[in-house]
Amino acid sequence: MASTVIGAGITVEGEITTEEDLVVAGTVRGKVSAKEAVTIEHGATVEADVVGGSLVVAGALTGNVTVHERVDLQAGARVIGNVKASRVTIADGALLKGNVDMEV
């Protein structure tokens, strides 16, 4: 169960900080910081730097990503920004423009 959900019709301009999970189906501009999993759903738009425990992207993300655990870019994802995580998967059909840093 996701703790914070930004629904498909909702736009947040500002800063979201959470100790729990975050699911974005709408639009977020600003800054995102979550202790647990962040999910950017298909159809969602995020223009923000994202800090999280883990990240799944199926929508559009513009911003730098710093994740403690893993990042999964699913088919249909569009990511513009640098990705820093210990594990990164990029599915066939996902777009990424930026650097990947797997802390090697």
Partner: protein, 153 residues
């Protein structure tokens, strides 16, 4: 905690892959969880439940619930109907009804088509509620009150 995070990620993958229903049924699903804090502007369509903290403006076309334990500091909160169980500092403008539950703490002006304040709720502010006075309460200003009602329509 680390393992739990990974499991959650995997568990959600099929859902994230599934097409998000554009608006309507899905847009009703918005929630600021109890561990979350949002600073800035929230607007759009759909219902919203706030369980955490919100600082900034809040304007939605949908119903808003400020749940128990939630805290909202906002210059203006706009929504269709607004239900307050937690605490709110700021003005409220609802196109529908405004409800202050027993545990509500509100400082600000309330405007809505109907306002209800339960026993135990704390409220400091002005009430602006559009309704027609029943004729027996009209008293001396009866004619005037009726005139205004007519003018509004």
């Amino acid at each position: 905690m680390t393992l739990g995070g990974a499991c959650t990620t995997f568990g959600r993958q099929p859902m994230a892959q599934a097409r998000t229903i554009p608006r309507g049924s899905d847009s009703g699903d918005a929630r600021i969880g109890s561990g979350a804090r949002v600073r800035g502007r929230i607007h759009g369509e759909g219902d919203l439940v706030v369980e955490g903290q919100v600082e900034g403006s809040l304007s939605i076309r949908g119903d808003l619930t400020i749940a128990e334990g939630a805290s909202v500091v906002s210059e203006l909160v706009e929504a269709q109907s607004i239900s307050i169980v937690g605490s709110l500092e700021g003005d409220v403008a609802a196109s529908g009804s405004v409800r202050l539950a027993a545990s509500a703490r509100v400082r600000g002006n309330l405007r809505g088509s109907a306002v209800s304040i339960e026993e135990g709720a704390r409220f400091a502010g002005k009430l602006d509620c559009e309704f027609d006075l029943p004729p027996e309460l009209g008293g001396a200003s009866r004619a005037e009150s009726r005139g205004r009602t007519a003018a509004r329509r």
